[in-house]
């Protein structure tokens, strides 16, 4: 013990990482924290404002609090709806992907295609797709007599955003699930065939339990991503019509950059961040505990 060599050289290897983390996340984050507890009268003169911004924000009767609460509800509904569609759909698609031959590559590329498109481009594609004058979807729907107008009708706007997200991200769940399905040894399917088990029973008793771990990751990724959605709706609807598709991130940008209301925006950023973190933690805890209870 006494002769244990003591060397500080390890720090040389750690320092670059610490510096990068400092500049990439810690410092920007601290600026936000800084703004969230101060107010300004202009001329770059700041003074202490305590927790006032936060009290405002978390009180739904105030103007900013009301905006925040309704945007939060919209976010939760949106995440819930897209997960409910994308998860079963992704699994279903994964089951239908061929397992052998040249079709595998072709199918996987097709499925991955939306994932490779830059998000603003996805937004633009859908914005044009949904237009009722020249858009394939918008014009076709109106042509067959369905009232559809994503710039004026909130239901149309929501439908467009949800469809766009499903189109954009179901592929990811399908790819993850496909990888999970491929990992199931053939012997399980054989055993089920020999038992005379039905297709549903194979899915329920073999595929779904074996996919559980992959699906935990898929749900987490999709939740985080959908809860922070910004780019696509900002291009397609810009948060409208009215406030109908104004999600937290869109509202945040409006407050911070549109109104240059730094205190409110900073407080909102922090609360938004903490909510995302908490929900992910809850998801993760529940799912890993389910798993542990089974494995114990």
């Amino acid at each position: 013990m006494m002769d244990k060599p003591w060397s500080n050289r390890a720090w040389f290897f750690v320092i670059p990482v610490l510096v990068v983390v400092l500049f990439s996340s810690l410092l920007p984050m601290m600026t936000v924290v800084n703004y969230s507890v101060q107010d300004t009268m202009g001329q770059n003169h700041f003074f202490w404002n305590g927790a006032a911004w936060f009290q405002n924000l978390l009180d739904p009767t105030t103007d900013i609090g009301g905006r925040f609460a309704s945007a939060l509800v919209r976010n939760l509904i949106f995440s819930f709806v897209v997960l409910m569609i994308e998860l079963p759909l992704g699994i279903a698609v994964a089951i239908c992907i061929p397992r052998h031959g040249w079709k595998v590559g072709a199918t996987l590329v097709l499925i991955a295609l939306p994932l490779l498109i830059p998000w603003t481009v996805v937004g633009t594609i859908w914005e044009i797709f949904a237009r009722q004058d020249i858009g394939l979807l918008g014009a076709a729907l109106n042509g067959i007599g369905v009232h559809y107008n994503d710039t004026q009708d909130p239901t149309s706007a929501w439908a467009t955003i949800v469809m766009m997200d499903v189109w954009h991200w179901t592929g990811m769940i399908a790819l993850l699930s496909y990888a999970g399905l491929k990992a199931i040894p053939d012997a399980f399917y054989q055993a089920a065939r020999i038992d005379g088990a039905s297709r549903w029973s194979v899915f329920r008793n073999i595929e779904l339990p074996k996919l559980q771990k992959v699906l935990v990751i898929a749900v987490l990724l999709r939740f985080m991503e959908s809860f922070m959605i910004y780019t696509e709706p900002s291009v397609v609807t810009g948060g409208g019509p009215g406030e109908a598709t104004s999600f937290l991130s869109l509202d945040l940008v409006k407050i911070a950059l549109g109104q240059v209301d730094l205190g409110n925006a900073a407080a909102m950023s922090i609360v938004y961040y903490l909510i995302t973190l908490t929900i992910c933690w809850i998801f993760f805890t529940i799912m890993t505990q389910l798993d542990q209870r089974k494995g114990a």
Binding site: P185, A187, F188, Q190, A191, R193, I194, D195, G196, A197, R204, N205, I206, L208, P209, K210, K294, G295, A296
Partner: protein, 368 residues
Amino acid sequence: MSLQLNSVGLKYGADVIIDDVSLTFDRGTMNVLLGPTLAGKTTLMRLMAGLDRPTTGEITVDGKSVVGVPVRKRSVAMVYQQFVNYPSLTAFENIASPLRVAGLGKSEIDSRVSEASRVLRLDPYLQRLPAQLSGGQQQRTAIARALVKRADLVLLDEPLANLDYKLREELREELPRLFAATGTILVYATTEPAEALLLGGTTATLWQGRVTQIGPTPAVYRRPANIFAARVFSDPPLNEMTVTRTGGEATLPDGRRVGADHLLPGLPDGRYQIGFRVEHARLAAPSGNASAFQGKVAVTEISGSESFVHVDLGFATWVSLVLGVHDWEPGLLAEISIDPGRVFVFDEAGALVRAPDNLAARAMSEMV
């Protein structure tokens, strides 16, 4: 019930997986498929189960062709090398699953499952999920599932390969007994000669998709019909050398010429392959014995109370079994002598032309 494979073949494109296999299995028999990995054991079982269709040949049950009859309409059960159970069902439900599909009544299911779980000592674990069971318990659950089904054909595909030593010994003893009581056709695939000998019954040796020999297990071991069967049925590998006979002389692989009647008595001129198992390669320190083979020790494996000494002879590496734990350091000079009365002689194509006399006679009498 009797299951027959008549000149069964299977091809994937140009690859021949199973080549002209003819086998007959009768009710209540123990049948071993012995062969190295990729010899076609699993494929053959898939064909028997009806999971795959043969490209050529016929598979019949009691004389009637079953080619094209779907698996679910057949009376088959199978146990795999991997522990295959439904992950979301308890051990009880796993064992009961084929009976539920068959639509049996609750009391019948309960009694069959409890009987199977009793003989496989699974009673305390019936309410657990597979992930909560040890490897041995998982495999016993899979075996119980095959047992309760009371299938006419039970296929065991290296069922003990992933289990630890102690469990393997236990289950290997129990398995044939468990299924013998049901009067089923039991087919057991293994890569291990020792396992085949312990199981007894009938053995078919497989090599590159072909059956190289069929017969009572000890007889196949004692008198392999060809060098392929001998190789498959030897672990550690068969020691081999090629010897050419010209007139009264035989040329050994190391270039020496010896009297031919010593090694190849009464055989015509030609090239022969000589094979013998490790217990018939006598290892000694170099003594200048003119008929022995000189070499250097390459590796010594100590296995329990035996040592396997690998000796590099230049033309081949032979393995010798020495009883006891011996310290043959790699690099030591050694010589291996063989008893010509103990070797198998195969012709150039690999067919057996001469077996150790006394053993051959005994094996023949057993085969009758």
